[in-house]
Structure formats: structure tokens, C-alpha cells
Amino acid sequence: MRYSIFTLLRQSLTGHAGWTPAWRDAEPKSDYDIIIIGGGGHGLATAYYLAKVHGITNVAVLEKGWIGSGNAGRNTTIIRSNYLLAGNNPFYEWSMKLWEGLEQELNYNAMVSQRGVLNLYHSDAQRDVYARRGNAMRMHDVDAELLDARAVRRMLPYLDYENARFPIHGGLLQRRGGTARHDAVVWGYARAASDRGVDIIQNCEVTGLLRDGASVVGVETTRGAIRARKVGMAVAGSTSRVARLAGLRLPIESYVLQAFVSEAIKPFIPGVVTFGAGHFYISQSDKGGLVFGGDLDGYNSYAQRGNLPTVEDVCEGAMALMPAIGRVRVLRSWGGITDMSMDGSPIIDRTALPGLYLNAGWCYGGFKATPASGWCFAHLIARDEAHEVARAYRLDRFASGHLIDERGVGAQPNLH
């Protein structure tokens, strides 16, 4: 069913009785050309672009829960391409370009809103770092503006500019950054992939890999064995667990990242704002809730829920930046399991096992990467070669020393 104003009008006149499910809840077949493990944004986007760009439609996406139950529904919905390093910047800018056309592409309202992402700086040294990043962005044809304190004050008059410890000196603004509706992104990709023949199989957990010698030729699941010519993994926080089924050890640790939403208030925060003196970021959803987050809980976790010291730390960041929201009540908090790589950058690559492909290491930045991750992973699986904007995301870069250390903190994944 194509969504349009005419479909809506027709359904309005007939009591909305004719809407059909957005995608087929498929039963697994015995074999496919390609299996994607993980029905999150990255897995569904991969399946969609396999079908759309590469014409491969005999594809299954296996999801152990339901579509939208994992990190796709747990992130803080920010999209941006404000990266410094040459290995990252073209990839995230390609993602941004895909975001800009996503809704027309998928015929689905993903509520992509380019309301701007502003990174605040609080010292002369930090201004220089941000200026360097802004210049790197502009050299890659990405929009970036360095604002002084007066310009930021015009946008956000209620920040704590004269804070004794963290005075706000200005910010680096990417106007094309913003937010998108995270559930709608997976629903839209699922619907568009399903329309092109992809089987989306929910409640189907992968429990083992089928092997023919060294090669991977399918998966064992809770719903039986399924064979495939190629298998791609896009399972975020569960990457090490699935990789262990293949006997692989990876440069990844799993951590929980918490997110928060407040009660709804009137329009207050026009875009995304990040606090540069701690780790805190905030935006306001279209429903009015303030959506915010901060640091990881600082130790390995598969718990999908966070602990109170980090809640306190995040709220302290909020109060240092934006005291005006001190009386706003927090409505909910939740946690998602992130696959923290050792240099803070992702991996889109083949593995040592023929037929097994890896998409992992998104740390807590996976949401913004969804379209390009799918695009590049589909390219890799279909053509057995890295896409040009994802060439740096090799698995062997940790052994060869070609790290993409955007934060510059070394092999300490809970610091990225």
C-alpha cells in the first residue's frame, strides 16, 4: 500500500478499515541468498539496499525479538555528520545525504528534522579543537559554522553562560544535523524491504552457524536451520556473543548507554545541544519531552538497564548547562547495549570465515549511521568489496595500526 494524502483521504472515508500491516511477518524458508542477523536499523537498511541497489531480494532478516525492540528504539535519535577524521567524515556525510532523501525513498514519514546540532565549547583550547573539526568538515563539503558566545546566546538565551567552572564561549553548529523518529526509521525500512520481497522474521534467535569447512553456509535458529550463500551480522551490543558462535574474538566490549525523557513542555530547545565540559546532550521531541543522555555506565554490561550514579552524572550535566530545566520531571529512563570498539569507530568488513560478514562497533553513534551503514554493508555483501566511503572500517586495522581514533583516547572502549 502506497501512503499518500489520497490513501489517507480514502481511508478516512471508509472508517480506516482498509489499512494493511506495514510489512509481512514472514515464516522462515529453508534457504536464502543472504541472511542478515539482526532486525535493527542497520540490518533492515542492509536488506533494503540489497534489494533496491543490488537487485538481491531472496534475503531474510532474522530478529530475536521484534522490530524496534533493540537499540533502534532506545537511542536519542540524533543525526549529524560533524566528524573530524577522513576515515569517518565521508561515511557520515553520505549517511546524512541518505537521511535527507529517506522519507521520499521509503514512502514513510521518518520525521527527519534538520533542526541543527550545536556542540558548545567552554575554553579557548576547546574552541581551537572545534575550529579544526569545523574546518575538516568544510573541506569535506559538510556544513559547519563556528559561533561565538553572542551568537549562541541569540539561539539559546537561557544557558548558564557565566558558569564559574564551565563558561560557554561559543559552539560549533551543523545546521543540517538534527533528529529523526527512530521507530519510524526501522518501520520504514522494514516496510520498504518487505515490499521488495525481503522476509522479515521476528522471534527468531540465531543459536549457531552452519559450516561447510571454513565457510559459513547458514544459521541454526530457534525456528530451525536456515541455509544461505552469505550471512551478515548486524547485532550491535550482541556482536561478541554472535561472533563467538563463529569462534571469533573481536575488538569490542559491550556497555550500557542510558537515555532519558522528561515530561512534555512547550517548545523550548530548537535543536540538539551538547555540553562540551562534560558529557551531556539534549533535544526536544515533537511531543514536547526533553530527550537527553550522557556517558556510558562505565563497566561491561549486557543488562539493558542502567544504574543510578550515571543518572546523577547526566542530571548534573543538565544543571551545569541549562539550570532552567531543573524543575522538569524525568518521565522515563532506559538503557541499550552498545558495541564499543577499541578506537570508537565501526567495522564493516569480511571476517576470516568465507561467507560471514561483520557490521559492528557502532559505539553509541549507530543511529545516525543507519542509512549509510546499510548502504555500505549491502555493497560489501553483494560485491565482496568495501564501499568507497567505508574503506577505513576494516577489521584488521587494529592489528595494522590504522586506527580511526576520533576521540584520541586509545584502546579504552568505555572512554569513546
Partner: protein
């Protein structure tokens, strides 16, 4: 920020620099992790207290502490 500071997996040991294939040994020690969902041996530092290192076995799914002891002295 808190009394105890996390220092990662306890299994990771600095390799002997005279070991054969030393690059591979360092790559594995620095970058590769078991990252289990379940009991995990890890190092914590009692930063806000007695400044001891602790070897803790913790379930990463529930945060239940299964064992705590002092790590064995490292032979140099």
C-alpha cells in the same frame, strides 16, 4: 566520579616482549576481548578508599558480584 574505578577485563595481560610473534600477542592483549554475557573477571581500583586493586568476578547480565579477591602479584 565514584569510589571504585573500573579497569577492564582482568584476563588481559601484557605479553612478554621476547615472545615469538610479539606483534600478534600485543594485538590480542590490547584489542581483543572475550566480552562475555555472564561471569566476567575484571579489575577495579578502590580509588576513593584504600587504593587497592581488586579482581572481581561479576555477572554482566545482572551485575551480581560472584567473587572478589586481591590480584596475585605480577612477576616481573
Amino acid at each position: 566520579m565514584s569510589e571504585f574505578a573500573y579497569h577492564g577485563a582482568a584476563a588481559s595481560q601484557r605479553p612478554d616482549p621476547d615472545t615469538p610473534e610479539v606483534d600478534l600477542a600485543y594485538y590480542e592483549a590490547v584489542y581483543l576481548r572475550d566480552n562475555p554475557a555472564g561471569p566476567h573477571k575484571e579489575l577495579w581500583y578502590h580509588a576513593g578508599g584504600c587504593r587497592s586493586w581488586l579482581r572481581v568476578t561479576r555477572d554482566t547480565r545482572t551485575h551480581e558480584i560472584l567473587a572478589v579477591n586481591f590480584p596475585a602479584p605480577v612477576n616481573t
